[in-house]
């Protein structure tokens, strides 16, 4: 079953002046209309059970694509058909409160991710154990390391119910052991429930191991979409050519 169908998707942004000055504000309002395409004529589809990795250099349009699929950004042209509930995790600690402890933050983040309070309560022990933060559950988040925060966020994400998962370089900063556990758990969730996932990563070995499909984006254009090994090979070759 097709969960995502994208046809000729384009996204145009206006390159704005710094609005801090009156000149910048008026310029943005009346004068210069400097536009550019962040995505141009992208077409692909994702079926249930697919795990798609997006690769490409910085500024190639990976995050913009995920934001449009999530419904966070509008599209300029083309069609995007989503068949199912989408859960997007595009940034690690956006909803966390440093002054509050881990326990309080689990509820805060869980609820903004769409989990019911009752479900969070029911899974609280599992979330804490998966994140390995039992001893720090009443510690304010400001005293947490980056790795601990990431473990906490990912542990909560495991309990979000959705058909399509969109992830943007979320697991990159975690240690190897936790990364393995997280990807395996996400994979299990997807395969059991006939769901799909799309994630961006600069770690090509992760994409190769966990994704059955991949897409290469460059300067807003879809260079290739297909079996992971072929896409990765093409990306590596283009990287080598660029560095020479």
């Amino acid at each position: 079953m097709k969960l995502i169908s994208v046809k000729n998707l384009s996204k145009k942004f206006r390159r704005t002046q710094n609005q801090q000055t009156a000149f910048g504000f008026l310029n943005n309002l009346f004068l210069k209309k400097d536009e550019f395409y962040a995505l141009k004529n992208i077409s692909f589809s994702v079926s249930s059970g697919d795990i798609v990795g997006i690769v490409g250099p910085n500024g190639s349009g990976k995050t913009t694509l995920l934001r449009i699929l999530a419904g966070l950004y509008s599209k300029t042209d083309g069609t995007v058909a989503i068949n199912g509930k989408v859960a997007a995790f595009l940034h690690t600690n956006v909803a966390l409160e440093n002054e509050l402890d881990a326990y309080e933050n689990i509820f805060l983040l869980g609820m903004i991710m769409g989990i019911n309070k009752k479900d969070i309560e029911a899974n609280l022990k599992k979330i804490i154990d998966f994140a390995e933060i039992r001893k720090f559950i009443r510690t304010p988040l400001r005293d947490f390391s980056t790795g601990m925060i990431q473990r906490l966020v990912l542990s909560i994400l495991m309990y979000v119910e959705a058909d399509i998962f969109l992830l943007d370089e979320l697991i990159e900063a975690s240690d190897f052991k936790f990364k393995e556990r997280s990807y395996k758990k996400i994979l299990k969730k997807i395969s059991v429930g006939h769901k799909a996932a799309i994630f961006c990563s600069h770690e090509l070995d992760i994409i190769e191991r966990f994704c059955n499909k991949a897409m290469l984006l460059d300067k807003g254009k879809l260079i290739k979409f297909g079996p992971t090994a072929k896409v990765i090979k093409l990306y590596e070759r283009s990287q080598q050519n660029n560095s020479q």
Partner: protein, 255 residues
């Protein structure tokens, strides 16, 4: 999307309490500031203007206290709502949720402070043994009217602030001026006629009058004025929600 689903309400509540707790933990005197701030302003104004007004000291104290609380609630809530979308920029850009929740949670956080502030009004009402009576029952309706006005204005100003980054400073200037254009420490009847009309059409002026009527003078709010203000605040609220729903994606792109 349902305007206020149970899930959105729960989320707003969670954020309101979380932000209240987070702010509180950064203060040595914690929630006591919710009592102290309006009390200090009230005492200063009482000291400065008491001789100029015909009211007795305890009545004038309550008069200013109620005005100060209503004014502080509106001005500080809108001030914190104006910055909330840029303060939580990454959330707006990266998480799928109704963005107006952030503004409503700011209102909720201030509402908790306001509730604590209102406690001192009731304490002083008891101490001064004012003419509290049946018309006190209008208090919740007046309170809801003020909250509705604050939510509507907060949504609209928060929305505009994404497009005009100086909104925070414009509001700060309006607050400085507005303090003298609502009857916090003076009575409407003491103003010259042209100025009186200008001050009287301000919805907050009417809300202050409604508060004082039911809390100090045991009088019911003027029904016609109440309905007019209610319709006005409902329109503001509707416009605010419309802007957020209609331009949600544009907000995320611009913020």
């Amino acid at each position: 999307m349902i305007l206020f689903s149970k899930k959105n309400f729960e989320l707003t509540k969670e954020f309101s309490f979380a932000w209240f707790k987070a702010t509180d933990r950064r203060k040595i005197l914690g929630f006591l500031w919710n009592f102290l701030n309006p009390l200090i302003i009230t005492l200063i104004l009482l000291f400065l203007f008491q001789k100029n007004f015909g009211l007795n000291k305890s009545e004038y104290f309550l008069y200013i206290l109620i005005g100060t609380l209503a004014w502080n609630n509106l001005s500080s809530t809108i001030q914190s709502s104006i910055t909330v979308l840029t303060w939580r920029r990454e959330m707006v850009k990266n998480i799928v949720f109704p963005k107006e929740t952030l503004v409503l949670a700011r209102v909720g956080t201030q509402l908790i402070s306001h509730f604590i502030g209102l406690l001192i009004v009731f304490i002083f009402l008891a101490i001064f043994q004012t003419k509290v009576g049946i018309n006190l029952l209008y208090f919740p309706a007046v309170f809801l009217l003020e909250i509705l006005l604050i939510i509507g204005l907060s949504l609209i100003f928060a929305f505009i602030s994404v497009y005009i980054s100086d909104m925070e400073y414009i509001w700060a200037a309006l607050v400085r001026m507005g303090f003298f254009l609502v009857p916090i420490f003076y009575e409407l009847k003491d103003l010259p006629p042209n100025l009186k009309n200008l001050v009287a059409i301000n919805p907050l002026t009417q809300i202050m009058i409604f508060y004082r009527n039911c809390l100090i003078y045991n009088q019911a709010p003027n029904a016609v004025n109440f309905v007019i203000i209610l319709l006005f605040t409902l329109s503001l609220f509707g416009l605010g929600i419309f802007l957020f729903r209609r331009y949600e994606q544009h907000l995320a792109e611009r913020v």
